[in-house]
Amino acid sequence: MRYEAPESLEGAVALLAGATGEARVLAGGTDLLVQMRADVVDPELIVDIKRIPETRRVTEEGGGWRIGAAVTGAELKEHPGLRKVWPGVVEAANLIGSTQVQGRATLGGNLCNGSPAADSVPALIAAGAVASLAGPGGRRDLPVEDVMLGPRRLALAKGEIVVSFLLPPRPPRSGDAYLRFIPRTEMDIAVVGAGVSLTLDGGGTIIAARVSLGAVAPRVLLVPDAARAIIGSRLDEAAQRRIEAAARAACRPIDDKRGTTEFRTDVAAVLARRAALIALDRARAS
């Protein structure tokens, strides 16, 4: 098993594009190392992207924020600017595993692990984040909701890596939130996740919203119907019932050891509503 830690994007892309066997990108390693130990994957090449400066930075860009794919959850939490503008995204990243896992886990890894239950992904999708990719064919942008195709399946070409995420500029009176359901208080994989981002007008009416659900379908979903259910409202009782219904309608979950279809569907509705209410409070307070 080969290990490489290139210091440039070009180097990483060349290594991955040139690999003859299975090649894996190592960011935080919190999923990859577990899969290697369990013999789920046995890569021939591991490319550690943490020495590439672009993957390790958080920078302001055009009024928004660009987050490197290999920035850890703990680093995001400590970033004062980011936490203020995108509390939902930062909270979601900090729900991945333990404090120890936070010291390693990254947004890029969380997305590219290809799990529909990834905690940070619904929050990124709700935020309208765009992934910046680098590959043998050059750079391109892809909305986060389009990166994952299904469990362990990504829309990345051979040799292509996620370099960073761009969170768009934030209009005034905006707020976001992410909630997930787990049986314990920590350490579990999300049984259901719900991310909501919304913007109010001066009168407190929702004028824009994005709603995303995790662990209720083969990939993390952007649910435009759930957003439409609350746009134009002040999230009154009727709007709350509408977002619940829209969330419920979007669910296509499986029965597994972590939850039944019925449970996931019911809880998705509850979390979508609760996340929307938190986002609303944050938008009002901002």
Binding site: Y3, L33, D48, T72, G97, S98, Q100, R104, T185, E186
Partner: protein, 158 residues
């Protein structure tokens, strides 16, 4: 392929070792450097018994590759006591019976120290959530959480 030749600092000492790509930092610490104070309870980042500091950041040594740590600083339980004296957390854990079997204790101590360095006045809830990645099956956590809170109070007094 040949083994990786790695140079790093462990508890302030320069170390050099050879490792295979698939060997974790925990494998290296325990099997190569004979630092067996970090324990393997799960090898999947779920129990925290292998908690160490990597460049000042709390991590599970089982989730780091040995070949990743070249040029970096690692602190383990073996480096927690300085000279002849135990760290206040170690001392308080002893006095408060905050350990029963003791297998999880190194991980709890390393993680608790990381917490108090970051937050000298944690609430009970903050202690519990910070330590949620450290499993203990013996104590029910009560005496551990109490020991951390008491140590924080003592350290604040200086």
């Amino acid at each position: 392929m040949a083994k990786h030749h790695i140079q790093a600092k462990v508890n302030g000492d320069d170390v050099e070792f050879l490792c295979e790509t698939e060997e974790t930092l925990l494998d290296v610490l325990r099997d190569t450097l004979n630092l067996t104070g970090s324990k393997e309870g799960c090898a999947s980042g779920d129990c925290g018994a292998c908690s160490v500091m990597l460049d000042g950041r709390l991590v599970c040594a089982c989730l780091v590759l040995g070949c990743e740590v070249g040029g970096r600083q690692i602190e383990t339980i073996e480096g927690m006591a300085t000279g002849a004296s135990l760290h206040p957390l170690q001392q308080r854990f002893l006095e408060a019976a905050a350990l029963q079997c003791g297998i999880c204790t190194p991980g709890f101590l390393v993680a608790s120290r990381a917490l108090l360095e970051k937050n000298p006045s944690p609430t009970e809830t903050e202690v519990r959530y910070w330590l949620a990645g450290n499993l203990c099956r013996c104590t029910g956590y009560d005496k551990i959480v109490t020991a951390v809170l008491d140590t924080a109070a003592t350290m604040r007094k200086g």
